[in-house]
Assembly symmetry: C2
Homo-oligomer: 129 residues x 2
DNA sequence: ATACATGCAAACACTTTGCAGCACA
DNA sequence: TGTGCTGCAAAGTGTTTGCATGTAT
């Protein structure tokens, strides 16, 4: 009641969501926009950004902020880690268990509340080696 | 011989380095530029950026790429983790041992070479609570 | 009918770069 | 004295926003 969200199920929203789900390789907003344009539909870039943000907030897709690069989005919503290739800039999943308890390793929170974390590895992908 | 670096010890370079060392709270390039300007000297913003990059590469300061925000720099060169406040956007050190072996938790590297990692926590700082 | 959503372009935040002149080694 | 460095402004990314119009509910 109090947090009554009334989002509309627009065509553009559906296109953005479906496109992310089809792209299994961590696309950023630009890649998603180009995929949509290349296929058939016309969705403006601003709308792509707006919908990616909204869909991520609603939990339909995962938003992966990338240091030194464009944010990526992932159809896989289970929290997991990523590695960014130092050469090609590509972002890939890391096959590593999610460290739910990692915050317990913090010796002294100094009054912070800690509610999430992300780990981004840096390295070289097989193709760039 | 082969990698003969010939960097000059310019006044601007020294000012940038000294300013970062004086600022104990993870300033970004803009904050460093403003601190320099506010004090006395005039160093152009482009030069601040160029020198921060160079000093970080040489290991004099630590470069902390921040997802969704300006990169920070840190006079403390020992690798360590950070937490970003969801409200004020400030970046702070996290008092947690550095996980040198974290890459060992990767189940399958899938041909990647992994050479570094960073962990950024998200939460609310004491002042914003 | 009326919010919410869209498209467009402009603005924004952060960073890099081209170029002519300057200064450290 | 020559190459690395600087200042300036312009350009380059990635992203958000103002506004008039459009549309789902």
């Amino acid at each position: 009641m109090q947090n009554e969200v009334k989002n509309r199920n627009t065509l553009q929203r559906r296109i953005v969501l479906e496109t992310v789900r089809k792209m299994t390789n961590h696309p950023d907003a630009e890649m998603i926009y180009e995929k949509i344009s290349a296929e058939n539909s016309l969705v403006s870039k601003a709308t792509v950004y707006r919908n990616l943000k909204l869909l991520a907030k609603q939990g339909y897709i995962l938003h992966i902020p990338i240091p030194n690069g464009a944010d990526c989005f992932d159809f896989n919503c289970l929290p997991h880690y990523h590695i960014k290739c130092r050469k090609c800039g590509g972002v890939f999943d890391v096959d590593m268990p999610y460290q739910n308890d990692i915050y317990k390793k913090i010796v002294n929170t100094r009054g912070f509340t800690v509610d999430s974390h992300q780990i981004v590895f840096s390295g070289i992908c097989p193709d760039c080696q």
